[in-house]
């Protein structure tokens, strides 16, 4: 286990060095993503400037929501850059490269690439947290913990949906759309959603666990919600590994010669 963690650490260092070779592009993508998130944030500033509160959310909760969600998304897709690419790699028969090497397929596949623009999300998340006013030690520890758990849920969701390509053929677009759905629902106050939609956001598309529940943990120092979040994150790992292993049995090589850059 320790050796695998060291291996993932080595992959991350290599990816970072590779990204830094193109510094101008690297930096412009980061700045672009900060602007992108900033615009959505401006929308909420304008919204709460006029309407003050909606279903228990005020601007303070939105600061925290953006902090957790953008940092978690940034962590997930910066370090596990291939998590959102799994469907395409399966459909193109490009798993051969990973299958042939003496390392566990899933971590090797997921951590083989590093996202660039997502570093902008990561940076934005940290800046947003500074505006929350929750800068005491307990809140900071809780914030880091829930963000890591939310990042894990992002990765497992993306890989699980991507692994559906084993069964459906090309599921790239499905992965993109479902990830966007997860993110979009996560960025709105959870109290807006009722009934069946609320149930879906707590199960199939776990938007509540990347946004509302982490916010509740940090804002209210809610231990019960933290335990629930940790449980969901662990369950999501089990589901991901199960679906991937099941699908891998159906995998057919594309017989393609690939060069991984």
């Amino acid at each position: 286990m320790l050796e695998e963690i060291r291996f993932v650490g080595h992959l991350i260092r290599l990816n970072l060095a590779s990204n830094m070779e193109y510094r101008a592009s690297f930096l412009s993508q980061i700045v672009g993503m900060i602007i992108n998130n900033g615009i959505y944030f401006v929308f909420w500033l304008l919204f709460f400037d006029r309407f003050q509160e909606v279903r228990g959310y005020q601007i303070g909760e939105i600061y925290m929501l953006f902090a957790v969600l953008t940092l978690a998304y940034g962590l997930a897709f910066t370090f596990a850059g291939n998590a959102g690419e799994v469907a395409g790699l399966i459909a193109q028969g490009r798993l051969d490269y990973y299958l042939a090497l003496p390392r566990p397929v899933l971590p090797h596949l997921v951590f083989s690439r590093m996202g660039q623009s997502t570093i902008g999300d990561l940076t934005f998340g940290i800046i947003a947290f500074l505006f929350t006013g929750k800068l005491d030690l307990v809140s900071i520890v809780l914030f880091v913990t829930v963000t890591l758990l939310a990042a894990l849920i992002f990765v497992t969701f993306a890989v699980t949906v991507g692994a559906l390509a084993f069964f459906l053929g090309n599921a790239s677009q499905l992965t993109d759309r479902l990830l966007q759905t997860l993110l979009t629902f996560g960025l709105y106050p959870f109290g807006l959603f009722q009934g069946v939609v609320r149930l879906i956001l707590l199960t199939l598309i776990p938007a509540a666990f990347i946004g509302a529940v982490p916010v509740q943990v940090v804002q209210l120092h809610d231990g019960g919600a933290l335990a629930l979040l940790a449980g969901v994150a662990a369950l999501s790992v089990i589901v991901m590994v199960g679906v991937f292993r099941l699908g891998l049995r159906r995998y057919e090589s594309g017989s393609a010669i690939n060069i991984n850059i």
Partner: protein, 285 residues
């Protein structure tokens, strides 16, 4: 299948200088792309999921907001009008002509030079080609968005059928205006290595100052004043607002402003295109 083939070169050259010949040529391009798009209708339908999602979320957000305010109207719009406003606005945003990456790539790799010798105007070709796509996308998105809006807030009773031609005209000019801005961004590839950041910033400005995320009427007064003099509101807000809350005077005003901005931007585009193509250098063969 014959209909899919462009006019043979001699005929195209013959018609080149006549208005009717040009119109036929660009209609053929638009029709070809339309038929091409119809062959991949499921691909076009993939945006439907996003349309469902956005309109549903907007309905929840603004439903809760109207409820919290205890208001039947905010800035002159009812909840029903607000949600239907987003249907029209998202239809424009998600259905727009997407040619920036193609054009900027052709500028960067020099393949633009090969198309310059062909018997059509390069930018009009992309416009005609994109329009075919717009018709399919906008139609599908409008149906999808309407289904969600209807299920959430009911029909739009304020809509008047007799205003539809003018609303469609303002919407069509919104697509033209947006095309001009996007083309300018694409052609800036003559001078910049990467125009994606500019494209990104333009889209984000439209989100707030264009009225895509929030109707301009809901913005603070100082920001409304800025948004109303800039062309971005004419791309999304103006047609969407007329669709839900018709105002004859506003329609004339919006049309006039659209024509003026299109004139300015088309002029700028022409200058940029001519200057850029003179600077074009091709390496290799």
């Amino acid at each position: 299948m014959d209909e899919l083939i462009f006019l043979p070169a001699p005929a195209a050259v013959l018609h080149r200088r006549t208005w009717r010949g040009s119109a036929r040529k660009y209609l053929a391009i638009a029709r070809t792309n339309l038929l091409n798009r119809l062959a991949y209708v499921w691909d076009a339908a993939s945006n439907v999921l996003l349309m469902f999602l956005f309109i549903f979320i907007f309905a929840q957000l603004w439903g809760a907001t109207f409820e919290a305010q205890g208001a039947t109207e905010i800035a002159g719009l009812t909840l029903t009008q607000t949600i239907w406003y987003f249907v029209w606005a998202e239809m424009i945003q998600m259905g727009k002509i997407r040619h920036v990456r193609t054009v900027s790539q052709e500028v960067k790799d020099g393949s633009l030079a090969y198309t310059l010798g062909r018997p059509y105007n390069y930018l009009l070709y992309h416009f005609a080609s994109g329009i075919g796509d717009v018709l399919i996308q906008a139609g599908v998105l409008l149906v999808a968005g309407s289904l969600v809006a209807w299920s959430q807030v009911g029909p739009l009773y304020s809509f008047r059928l007799e205003t539809l031609p003018v609303v469609l005209l303002v919407t069509a000019l919104a697509f033209v205006l947006d095309f001009c801005v996007l083309s300018i961004i694409a052609l800036l590839a003559f001078f910049m290595e990467d125009v994606n950041s500019l494209l990104f910033i333009y889209h984000k400005i439209v989100f707030v100052l264009g009225g895509l995320l929030i109707p301009v009427d809901f913005l603070p007064d100082w920001l409304q004043a800025i948004a109303r003099v800039l062309p971005f509101n004419l791309v999304v807000y103006a047609p969407a607002k007329l669709f839900v809350a018709w105002d004859g005077g506003q329609a004339v005003f919006s049309l006039g402003l659209q024509v003026v901005w299109i004139g300015i931007l088309a002029g700028l585009l022409t200058v940029l295109y001519r200057y850029g193509t003179r600077r074009l250098t091709i390496n290799g063969g």
